[in-house]
Amino acid sequence: MPSVDGERNPFQPNLVRIASAHDETPDVQTLQLEFLDPEAARQFRWEPGQFAEYSVFGVGESVLTVANSPTRAQHVECTLRAIGKVTRAIGALSVGQVLGLRGPYGNCFPVAQWRERNLVFVGGGIGMAALRAPLQFVLDKRADYGEILVLNGARSVADLVYKDEMNEWQAVDGVRVVRTVDPGGEAEGWDGEVGLIPSIFERLGLAPDGRVVIVCGPPVMLHYMFLALEKMGFTPDQVVTTLESKMKCGLGLCGRCNIGRSFVCREGPVYTWAQVRSLPEDS
């Protein structure tokens, strides 16, 4: 047990080994991680939407969502784009190498409140990673939920993540998957949509009636998605998103992830659109 003079040291990570690595796109990978200490594995219990701190010793730590559902808890999975110092270092590791992992942190998606309701998951780019855990969760408890629509987009066909899983999800009864790429991002044989996510969403013409819309993606996509949702009559409390502030400690101590009064690492990362609207424009 990591400790400071006998007290639990929340900064000291557990050790995990890369059990498998799957290339999603040229710069995005999904890793399966297994704890070296079985007791640490038992203690690491998470809910869909929570995040963790992943680290390479000598390089640093990075915050990423736990990308798999606790209903599939054989491993902890993370999907990461090699874009910063730490994510590039993680991406350069091979199967069998050891990482630091601590968490889980933050709140989670209110999956219990979604029972019986129709769900729409809207994910842009690497934002799709934050939707994978709740999606797997509701698919594993399929009978508890209504119809499921997944709208996923990326800059180009090559940048789409979870390609194999999307096909599996599509095959489940009552699940529909719509994929789109930005204009110019299509490849030969592409049979999905072409267009930006907010306009494809509008074109789908969904009625708000009780649906829950879960939206994750870059800030500019969220901005236009909220405009589209408003135009279509969705209310701010039926829309859920995650906010991706820069974080260091994950514990509400280091002082950098706040948006107004709200510390994203503690009160987030999951917020309703209604909550987002009550926060200052600081994200």
Binding site: Q12, F57, K85, T87, L253, G255, N258, G260, D282
Partner: protein, 351 residues
């Protein structure tokens, strides 16, 4: 009130006894023309003259950089070693009441929610002896933010200046333990002496001419978020962060690895919300892209967000170091008043 009266040689005796017992005594000393907190090896080094140190003593419970744990990566695997805190008991001696109040703010941050074990251990080993002010300095504004030249917040024991000596007043069990040896040989303080000390405090309080920052302003400040007043203030701020480094209550930190991929330490270091990199994400997106947005964060954290989460207490203790040290003469109180005035829709900042 009960306590003891110490003449100069008595204070020396008390300090020398503490040093002999192996206690680390950290006190203001004059060094290269600056007053700074340092571990002392002799009572004669301690400077208890009016005025405050250049830096607050917060680094003795929240070091500028400290290891959280160390790591060794070898072919056989990764080994992590927990950080440990030097178990020597320490006395922060001669801390101004504003700086002691700063420690109480750090307590709220590091012990109020998730307990920070390194901070908690250091704090446990620390006894704070505050030194009531005999004079205010031009930048002082403790009375405007709920403090006093004789404030007790964060202090275990008070030292009150008196003509030719000091009164010693324990405030907590830790303070009583520290003062316990005095009962064997020091004189009890008389009612006249307590009154003399109180009169001195009143004089100092009256000399601090700053009107109060009202707790009710927190909500007004929050609603000043989109006011152009922050643009005007942000244009002046250089983003040098000296305000943060000298602040007794600023607690933000960075976490970084120091060493190689074979061995090293994961460390935390003081950081500042006024730096552009503080919130910049790996994608390049920065939620606080301008100095205005960063300066606003600093002021609102101290005077709006923190008070609303900590019973109305400001995350500012009025030491005035940020005002004194700012290279472009920015005044945090003035910024607060400007933002409140803007929020109320009146053009003039009330002074």
């Amino acid at each position: 009130m009960t306590g003891w009266r110490l003449a100069g040689p008595d204070l020396t005796r008390w300090l020398e006894d503490l040093l002999r017992a192996g206690t680390r005594v950290i006190a203001p000393v004059e060094e290269d023309g600056r007053r700074v907190f340092k571990a002392v090896d002799a009572a004669a080094r301690v400077c208890l003259l009016p005025g405050k140190t250049r830096w607050s003593p917060k680094e003795f419970v929240f070091p500028k950089t400290e290891a959280l744990f160390s790591y060794v990566v070898q072919a056989g695997g990764v080994r992590l070693h927990a950080a440990s805190v030097d178990p020597t008991e320490q006395v922060l001696f001669g801390v101004r009441p504003c700086d002691a109040a700063g420690l109480a703010r750090l307590d709220a941050t590091f012990l109020g929610g998730e307990t920070d074990p390194l901070y908690a251990r250091r704090r446990e080993l620390t006894t704070v002896v505050s030194l009531v002010c005999a004079e205010a300095e031009p930048e002082c504004f403790c009375t405007a933010v709920g403090g006093s030249p004789a404030g007790e917040d964060g202090s275990d024991l008070q030292l009150l200046p008196l003509d030719g000596g000091w009164l010693v007043r324990p405030l907590t069990p830790k303070g009583e333990r520290l003062a316990a040896p005095l009962s064997g040989w020091a004189a009890n303080a008389s009612d006249e002496e307590w009154e003399q000390a109180r009169a001195s405090v009143r004089r100092v309080e009256e000399s601090i001419r700053h009107s109060a920052v009202a707790q009710e302003w927190a909500a007004l400040l929050e609603s000043s978020f989109d006011s152009p007043v922050w643009e005007a203030l942000g244009r002046r701020c250089l983003g040098c962060s000296i305000c943060t480094y000298v602040c007794p209550s600023c607690s933000c930190f960075d976490v970084n690895d120091s060493g190689t991929v074979e061995c090293g330490e994961r460390c935390r270091s003081w950081d500042s919300c006024t730096f552009a990199l503080f919130t910049r994400q790996a994608s390049g997106h920065n939620p606080r892209p301008t100095q205005a947005s960063r300066y606003r964060q600093r002021v609102l954290h101290k005077f709006a967000y923190f008070p609303q989460q900590h019973e109305g207490r400001f995350m500012c203790v009025g030491c005035g170091r940020c005002v004194k040290m700012c290279p472009v003469g920015m005044d945090v109180q003035e910024a607060v008043r400007m933002a409140v005035a803007a929020s109320r829709g009146s053009g003039d900042a009330e002074r």
